[in-house]
């Protein structure tokens, strides 16, 4: 069975790039959200196995969204995909419940490798 993925990013071209790249790897894109609030709504409806999560977004940012997903007691695996390149932010994201961190800009190979590492640790 393919892994079910939800993409959370306020950039359409990033959502499109992640979709193009990961659709070739036995991953089914079940939802795409442009902010944290939309992600919470779509999460309940689609129950993904994995989420890629941007951090800087309008309305609800990525860290707040990760906290909200964890409150739902889900065991979804979360790969943060963000331009925020400082170590403190990566550590905070991992503390909040993410399992991986990929810094923007990223190549298709870097995304695939990060996802394989995330799923390999499941």
């Amino acid at each position: 069975m393919p892994v079910k993925l939800m993409i959370v990013d306020d950039s359409n071209i990033i959502r499109s790039k992640i979709t193009r790249t990961l659709s070739q790897h036995e991953i089914e894109i079940v939802a795409a959200a442009s902010d944290g609030e939309e992600a919470i709504r779509l999460f309940a409806a689609t129950r993904p196995d994995v989420v890629t999560m941007d951090l800087t977004m309008p309305r609800m940012d990525g860290l707040e969204c990760i906290r909200a997903l964890r409150k739902l007691k889900s065991n979804v695996r979360i790969l943060v995909v963000s331009a925020l390149a400082d170590k403190a932010t990566a550590i905070q994201a991992l503390k909040e419940g993410a399992q991986g961190f990929l810094c923007k800009p990223f190549t298709e190979t870097e995304l695939t490798d990060a996802m394989e590492e995330l799923l390999g640790g499941a």
Binding site: N12, I14, K17, T56, A83, K104, P105
Partner: protein
């Protein structure tokens, strides 16, 4: 802002283009901008900076450069909607990557994207604005960093 900090932005914008397209831009000589004549091209992505530093960072480019960049990264949709999205994402990525050097208290806003209208871009007049011209595939763009 000093020369060393300007170097940080030069490195980041070069790495952005190299990572995404395999080809770094040619970087021109940076210069201090006149606030009444800051360069603005067709599409501009602006990031407000707050926290330990205050000011803004913006990236501005013409349609042709943004279209080529989208095609290079495999995005077939080169509509104006995606050109605006891209210019905002470039500004966001450059500013976010700068936190590797400035630290987590270098707070960045979500991008504001402006198409054409220079009047709506607010650069603090009391802060120097460094202009970083760049050329990629013979097309021009500019990064402006204005930080207290």
């Amino acid at each position: 802002m000093d020369e060393q900090e300007l170097r940080i932005f030069i490195d980041i914008v070069s790495q952005y283009f190299e990572n995404q397209t395999g080809r770094p831009p040619e970087i021109g000589s940076p210069y201090l901008g006149d606030h009444s004549e800051l360069p603005i091209y067709e599409f501009t992505g602006v990031i407000g900076i707050s926290g330990t530093r205050q000011g803004c960072v913006y990236f501005t480019a013409h349609r042709d450069l943004l279209r080529q960049l989208l095609l290079h990264v495999g995005e077939p949709d080169v509509s104006d909607k995606n050109l605006k999205d891209l210019v905002g994402e470039i500004a966001n990525t450059i500013s976010g990557n700068a936190r590797r050097h400035f630290g987590p208290d270098f707070m960045i806003s979500v991008p504001v994207v402006v198409a054409g209208n220079a009047d709506s871009i607010q650069v603090p007049r009391n802060v120097k604005a460094y202009i970083l011209p760049l050329r990629w595939h013979k097309m021009d763009a500019v990064l402006v960093a204005s930080l207290q």
